[in-house]
């Protein structure tokens, strides 16, 4: 599989024109900061919750095309979902990154385009960064806290 196969047009589109990329969010419930010291990726993710559902989610930070594009596609797939459902979808994406067929391909929306990344083990953590930040934001919210910082070690 070539590099061009990994970087599909859908991924490049999200990278060039990211959805829900913003440095702040009105009425945010939780802000989390995730970093990946190995490649120097940094991500801020903010979540607004209404009626136990993802009302809005935005991300900001620095990272490679895969991490930025995956976070963009993630926001599009989870906005409007119940928190529990969003966690379930996160797990589906995580499994896909470890080689499984996605059970909820339609719900992942453009997220399915990242299936090929699973073949590049060092890039899997890039694709997961936004999703792991979302999972952490939801869990932080459920704990009743409003902020959390995570450093991903390998």
């Amino acid at each position: 599989m070539s590099l061009e196969d990994m970087y599909q047009e859908i991924i490049l589109d999200h990278y060039r024109k990211p959805l829900n990329r913003a440095p702040s969010l009105e009425d945010e419930a939780v802000a989390v900061h995730h970093s990946n010291p190995l490649c120097g990726d940094e991500m801020d993710l903010r979540l607004r919750v209404v009626d136990d559902a993802v009302d809005a989610v935005v991300f900001d930070g620095e990272g490679c095309s895969i991490s930025q594009a995956a976070a963009s596609a993630m926001t599009d797939a989870v906005i409007g979902r119940d928190l529990k459902d969003a966690l379930d979808l996160t797990e589906d994406f995580r499994r896909m990154m470890h080689g499984d067929e996605p059970a909820r391909a339609d719900d992942l929306k453009d997220g399915v385009a990242f299936q090929g990344v699973a073949k590049f083990p060092v890039r899997v953590k890039c694709a997961l960064l936004g999703w792991m930040a979302l999972k952490d934001a939801i869990e932080t919210y459920e704990r009743g806290a409003s902020a959390h910082t995570v450093t991903h070690e390998e």
């Binding site: 590099l3 490049l12 990278y15 010291p37 490649c39 120097g40 490679c64 095309s65 895969i66 890039r123």
Partner: protein
């Protein structure tokens, strides 16, 4: 140039590979160098002919193994212009730095003392000392950088002025900026303020690329690593003043490093054996000895001359690309051939992946220098680092790959 690069390249099996139909262009020797046939043969000869343990055997194989191991020590001592009694084999440079941190710094420094280091240290020469400082309560001071990525010696003079600095830990050549530090002068600055201060230099990126004389540098400790100087992984050395090693307590204890052992305790073997506990890396020492022979044959002056040329080529070729910024000194005479760069709007990871898909190997990330990255306001860079088997033919695939990344990832 005094050696024939294309002929030399043939001696490195890995460099004969192709990646997806592309010639392998290895520009990551700053992380680890390739291994020449002579080094592989030396290790193979040990395993298939003289395989036995060192030092205690009274039969021929054991004598041969001991000769290989101690012979490598003698070669390294000659290569670095040091006393063989001051050459301690370690696993790598990191272990050398830890030996110094544990056996000297942690036993000597305490509250009221200060240790001077720089903002451009590799984690190997940073974490052992900051951890000690945090536990023992001595202060750590940092020499800052000038705009051109050099150590600011005027600032260093101010940092030592109160006479509290008892130890200097500094890198000889930066693995990120390529800067060659005038460590002898920096040592002079420290000793002028405190004549008893000790000096430890991280030479991991210097010894593979420049002529180094431990005697002329006139420092106390100097750590090196074999896998960056054409040798195998798993072996490095700490070079030290013998009289200092004699006064120090061991780092690791156990077999081989003792003179006598009773039920209650032990006395220590002579240096350098006092610092080499357990069965050492015998095959790796044989391999490192062969690497030293090869570097000696090439001549370190010629190696340096070649790398000045490669540094100049890299600075011109990569620095000449629109939207590319180079970190570190702009004068090839002041730097090694490890060149870190940023491509406007393209993350280093993506640059590296694009280059990798075209057979060009460069390193991306923070290069184990997170404090330096913070200081430069960066999270990561891409780094191309050249060595004896690279020549200017390797620059074209590098430049083409960077251009391809720019086009592919243009927003």
């Amino acid at each position: 140039m005094a050696f024939d690069v294309p002929a030399l390249r043939k001696e490195f099996p890995t460099l004969q590979r192709e990646i997806d139909g592309h010639r392998l262009v290895y520009l990551d020797s700053g992380a680890s160098s390739q291994t020449p046939r002579v080094v592989l043969d030396a290790m193979d000869r040990y395993y298939s002919w003289s395989r036995s343990n060192v030092h205690r055997g009274v039969y021929q194989l054991a004598e041969e193994a001991t000769d290989l191991y101690e012979g490598a020590r003698a070669k390294l001592a000659t290569f670095l212009d040091a006393d063989p009694r001051g050459v301690v084999f370690t696993k790598n440079a990191t272990e050398g730095c830890n030996l110094v941190a544990y056996s000297w710094v942690r036993r000597q420094l305490g509250p009221g003392d200060a240790l001077l280091t720089t903002v451009m240290e590799h984690h190997a020469n940073h974490v052992p000392f900051t951890t000690a400082a945090n536990e023992l309560g001595f202060e750590v001071r940092h020499v800052p950088l000038t705009d051109d990525g050099q150590l600011d010696l005027d600032a260093a003079r101010e940092l030592v002025a109160d006479g509290k600095v008892r130890f200097l830990a500094a890198v000889h050549v930066s693995n990120v900026l390529g800067t060659i530090n005038d460590v002898a002068e920096l040592a002079g600055v420290v000793r002028e303020a405190n004549p008893d201060a000790k000096v430890h230099i991280d030479g991991a990126q210097a010894v593979p690329h420049l002529p180094v004389s431990f005697r002329e540098l006139d420092v106390d400790f100097y750590a090196i690593t074999g896998h960056k100087m054409l040798g195998p992984t798993g072996i490095g050395a700490l070079i030290a003043r013998p009289e200092l090693l004699e006064s120090m307590e061991p780092f690791l204890t156990g077999g081989d490093m003792i003179r006598d052992v009773t039920l209650e305790g032990a006395t220590w073997n002579d240096i350098p054996h006092k610092f080499e506990a357990g069965t050492p890396m015998i095959a790796e020492a044989a391999g490192l000895g062969a690497a030293v022979d090869l570097l000696t044959d090439l001549g370190m002056d010629a190696v340096r001359e070649h790398e000045v040329d490669m540094a100049a080529g890299l600075l011109d070729a990569v620095g000449g690309i629109d939207g590319v910024t180079i970190h570190g000194p702009s004068d090839p005479a002041l730097r090694g051939a490890a060149v870190s760069f940023a491509v406007d709007g393209v993350h280093p990871h993506d640059v590296g992946a694009m280059l990798g898909s075209k057979g060009v190997c460069v390193r991306v990330g923070h290069h184990c220098t997170k404090p330096l990255m913070r200081c430069l306001g960066l999270t990561a860079t891409a780094r191309a680092s050249a060595y004896v088997y690279n020549d200017r033919d390797d620059l074209e695939p590098l430049v083409d790959g960077i251009e391809a990344a720019k086009t592919f990832f243009a927003r």
